[in-house]
Amino acid sequence: MPEANFDWKLLAPEYILVAWAGMLIMLDLFWPAGGIGRWKRLDKESLGYIAAAGALIAVLVSLIWVDHVVSGVLRTDRCFRVRGLRAVR
């Protein structure tokens, strides 16, 4: 049985994604009718681009684990997350 590793930092991209998902729902629900500053209204299309940006950020964050293989609390080794990037043991 390998050592459990309670390094929750490993799940940072997932946290970002989940937080971003929550933020999108909040934005959609509570966007003030009068708008904020210059942004008068938020249409559905721009929500899509915001979501895309979130996913992109998560991608960039997960680049941290390039060249690493980690046994996490879930024994999530990172080699598939950073699929396509050589993992050095």
Binding site: L17, V18, D28, A51, L74, G84
Partner: protein, 412 residues
């Protein structure tokens, strides 16, 4: 990371679609991101319960998304079917996990592998049952024949960007898990399940490709063609070895990029016209040359034509299978990819030769075109110079196969 990229493209692609046709955009995007989380977890998990939870997260997001167009009957039907069958398969999977835990005393892939390699006798009933149930459960998720029944309806009913998302993320997530599970945990018993998977693979590619010929709706056609592709991918599992593992991952990347490109084309077209029958693509060459060429490239790539991703990745995958004494399987796969060329050519023929009914002036969607250009560039890149990609993939699969799996495979 790879799944995140899928998410980016899915969001960009759906933006305009959602504006025009759906309600509640916020939740919609949230679910896409959650699906990405699920797929990430599936690929990263090395423990059965984690894998199961991630898989459920992915599946539930997709169930909801499939039924998202709530005033469209087909969408509701597809969503319901997907959910019922999906829930059933999850139950099978969970039962299988229980069996495996009972037989080996662990849910960690590595420990299962170690337990199995110590056990030199025949496979016992509980283990066998568990293995079969897990295969069936995962087979549902990746839509392998005979567990594919939900696919065409879900694909047809779901809003188009969601169809693209299902075809990309649930397949790649499913196969990442498939590969890790079988390479790390079940590799010692490879002789017991190899021909079962090979049989699944043959059934999947034959049925997927032959039925696709009949289709007149482009979403259903792509659904069946993706079933066919699953057959090729299963071949990589059947021929389990470090080489076929990396070939599998490479083919999957090529497939996902290509399939996304194809779907983005269809989405753009649908945004313009609201139609999705193959005959509606007639004469597209005259109205939208860039779209036509991109879709042609994507389809040729799916059919495994050279210069594009499909050829290089298929060649490597089939060669890896042939290396493991599965030449007959590779032969069937090549024959089937020949069959698939026919129905792709039918679409291409419509676009280049058909006569458009009425010339519609279409706004040029720059963002979508940008995404499409990136995807097509990816298709060409994988097709022409896969060396760096294969190098990286090889490195990561080597890790998966390291340890127990490696020893078992080498000692076989």
């Amino acid at each position: 990371m790879f799944f995140g990229l899928i998410g980016v493209f899915a969001c960009v692609a759906s933006a305009r679609f959602v504006r025009d046709r759906l309600l509640h955009a916020g939740e919609y995007y949230a679910f896409i991101l959650l699906a990405v989380v699920g797929a990430n977890g599936m690929a990263a998990a090395s423990e059965l319960l984690t894998a199961y939870i991630s898989l459920e997260l992915l599946s539930f997001s997709l169930y909801v998304l499939t039924a998202y167009a709530k005033f469209d009957l087909r969408s509701n039907e597809g969503g319901l079917k997907y959910m019922l069958l999906g829930a059933f398969s999850s139950a099978l999977l969970l039962y299988g996990i229980g069996m495996i835990y009972g037989a080996t005393g662990s849910t960690h892939f590595g420990d299962i592998g170690r337990a199995l390699s110590k056990d030199t006798g025949g496979i016992d009933e509980a283990l066998f049952l568990g293995l079969a149930l897990i295969m069936a459960g995962l087979g549902f998720k990746v839509a392998a024949v005979p567990f594919h029944m939900w696919t065409p309806d879900a694909y047809e009913g779901a809003p188009l960007p969601v169809t693209a998302l299902i075809s990309a993320i649930s397949k790649s997530g499913g196969f990442a898990l498939f590969l890790k599970l079988f390479a790390e945990a079940f590799a010692p018993k490879i002789d017991d399940w190899r021909y079962f998977i090979a049989g699944l693979s043959v059934a999947t590619m034959v049925l997927g490709n032959l039925v696709a010929i009949q289709q007149s709706n482009i979403k259903r056609l792509l659904a069946y063609s993706s079933i066919g592709q699953v057959g090729y991918l299963l071949m990589g599992i059947a021929a389990l070895s470090p080489e076929s593992g990396s070939a599998l991952v490479l083919h999957m990347m090529g497939y996902v990029v290509t399939n996304l490109a194809a779907f983005v084309c269809v989405i753009i077209f649908y945004n313009w016209t609201g139609k999705e029958e193959i005959k509606d693509f007639a004469g597209l060459r005259d109205t939208a040359p860039f779209l036509t060429w991109s879709l042609s490239i994507a389809l040729f790539s799916l059919a495994g034509m050279p210069l594009f991703a499909g050829f290089a990745t298929k060649f490597i995958l089939f060669q890896a299978a042939a290396d493991q004494d599965l030449l007959w399987l590779a032969g069937i796969a090549v024959t089937m990819s020949f069959v698939s060329l026919y129905y792709y050519l039918v679409i291409i023929k419509e676009m280049f030769l058909g006569k458009a009914e009425a010339a519609v002036s279409m706004p040029v969607p720059w963002v979508e075109y940008g995404a499409l250009a990136v995807l097509v560039a990816g298709v060409l890149f994988i097709g022409l110079y896969p060396a760096p990609l294969l190098d990286w993939v090889d490195g990561s699969t080597a890790d998966v196969f390291a340890g127990v799996g490696q020893a078992a495979v080498a000692g076989r």
